[in-house]
Symmetry: C2
Subunit: 349 residues, 2 copies
Amino acid sequence: MTQSPRQAAPRAQAQRRREPSGVTLRHVAAAAGVSVATASRAFSRPEKVDPSTRARILRLADDLRYVPNRAAQALITGRTMALGLMVPDLTNPFFPGVIKGAQARARDRGLSLLIADTDEDPGAELALVGQLAQRTDAIVLCSSRMPDDDLDRAARLCPVVLVNREHPGVPAVTFDSDAGVREAAVHLRALGHRRVGYVGGPAHSFSDAARAACLHAEFPAHGLEVVLLGNHDPSFEGGRRAADVVLSSDVTAVMVHNDVMALGLIGRLLDYGLDIPRELSVIGWDDIEFAGMFTPGLTTVRMPREEAGRAAVAYLEAALGGRPSEPPRLETRLVFRQTTAREHQRRPG
Amino acid sequence: MTQSPRQAAPRAQAQRRREPSGVTLRHVAAAAGVSVATASRAFSRPEKVDPSTRARILRLADDLRYVPNRAAQALITGRTMALGLMVPDLTNPFFPGVIKGAQARARDRGLSLLIADTDEDPGAELALVGQLAQRTDAIVLCSSRMPDDDLDRAARLCPVVLVNREHPGVPAVTFDSDAGVREAAVHLRALGHRRVGYVGGPAHSFSDAARAACLHAEFPAHGLEVVLLGNHDPSFEGGRRAADVVLSSDVTAVMVHNDVMALGLIGRLLDYGLDIPRELSVIGWDDIEFAGMFTPGLTTVRMPREEAGRAAVAYLEAALGGRPSEPPRLETRLVFRQTTAREHQRRPG
DNA sequence: ACATCTTGTGCACACGATTGCATGCCAGGT
DNA sequence: ACCTGGCATGCAATCGTGTGCACAAGATGT
């Protein structure tokens, strides 16, 4: 008998808190009369095991209700099969849209999605990325407000893809506002408008800068003058507060940084007794579900947000799989509803 | 020299795809001149290691940017430190609210939150629970539409807490509609209403049944007759479609299964030229953010949904920690806005 | 008949952390 | 001097899976 120095120590086998279904590969292997290695390969390297034994193993696994232990897989494999997704505020309907798309795609591929809400606190984002990175293979940063160098650090921490923000060296799913804005321009021009205001979002928001830039690039070419009406909180209240600035300007139409703000603005103007859209045309941004539910329905630039979510995880899948790819630039379109109408001088407010 | 039969086999140490920060406990231990065991204890059993060595270990860990490998911890510990949260539809603002609360609480406790959206498919829920269960310690089932026996199976799969649904033997964070509904009753009665309709949600929805039951329990006591106006899709469109039923009934006020439906209903009635609330008072359910953003502002029964999310994870924490507790029953309140007014016979529609 | 390749399987190690047990050390009681 | 006991630490096993390597048996080529 060959001496075997191993196996000497008696196995204490402490009583541990175990998962409900304590069925492991070992059990399946034993039942099938094969080694754990073969059982493992039956799942992950199908071509390396005899079809009949494989079938037997799979059937037994099923009978025993075997479910692989993801932690063990993650440990040996180095891949958690989970992705992270960070958003500034779940309460803004734009983000659940992105999540929905991301989650659907992830689920299709057997990936899980961890959600983090930063509560609009740019300072907390980097730390949160750190936390997420421990449990995921890669992260989607949606409309991140992080300072540029935090972003650099984050990208070094773990594979990252941005949505609705751009930063050199970091892949990003972006929205091409041009098409939507151009449509808005011809639309407003056709209605007779000349001077249109832009009610901006947060001062250091990337997307706000992008939107303003896009306006400046497209509107003058269509004979429209754009008037900046300040930076505001990207909330309903922010929109309401912007009402006075709008009234005291002499624009006949405004574009607003996002739909929620636009709705706040309109609500406030309605309170003032203004006739929307007769006295002021309003165009929002995002096309959240509620934009179409309001009366009057909000004309707005649609951002394909579920698609953005899907594209972001698709990109990460590819990147993790070593297949290089380019995250897409998504087209926007103007959605025509009832908050835009022929230009008409309003009575002094 | 003591003979050591171990350590004979040469370590091949295959080149594996490793996490970006390849720093493990072993490195920290080596740097600190202690064993991995001590290093480990420096983190998880602080009292069992000398304060000075502990300090040294922690500092070194920090310097080396050590981050513990959650997969390894999960493997040995049997705890993933992650929770799952399943919702029917992220697009309904009620659910992001719950998620926000859950996520905030989870993050505070160092837990992660996995999100699953069932896309309103009750048949898919059980399978999704199975998937989630592999990666989490416990699951929050929010407004689950699962059939009862699926629910039983799910609960056997892994620790579960329900939100906004009840089922014998399964803990649940519930909403006590009574208070809100009672307020609605006295409110409507004070405004002179007698017959109030109920525009129901999905036929087999637990919460719809609960809400209807609550109406039947409270309204007659206040001299109000309740008229059931059918079951409808819990969406904006569903609310719009319910408009005709409402018009053809002779009620002067309606309660609607949720805010989104109420908004749809109101929008449609406005289209018909109805004066809301003069000709019909409307009360919604949930108090989603947008309820207050509409014009007219929607009077509605508030559900403290972020609190529900927090309570659900708090309950699970306790349960996993072996501390038995009872998930709370949360109070609802009526939020008075502009869609309710004195009863006033409307002109025949 | 023998060399070579292919195929299917098992052995054993590795992943990174936790933890029961053993051990060595030092203080204090007798 | 010796025993006792607490404290700090190390050893080694363990969690469940993946995978390189070795090996046996059968297939194939000359």
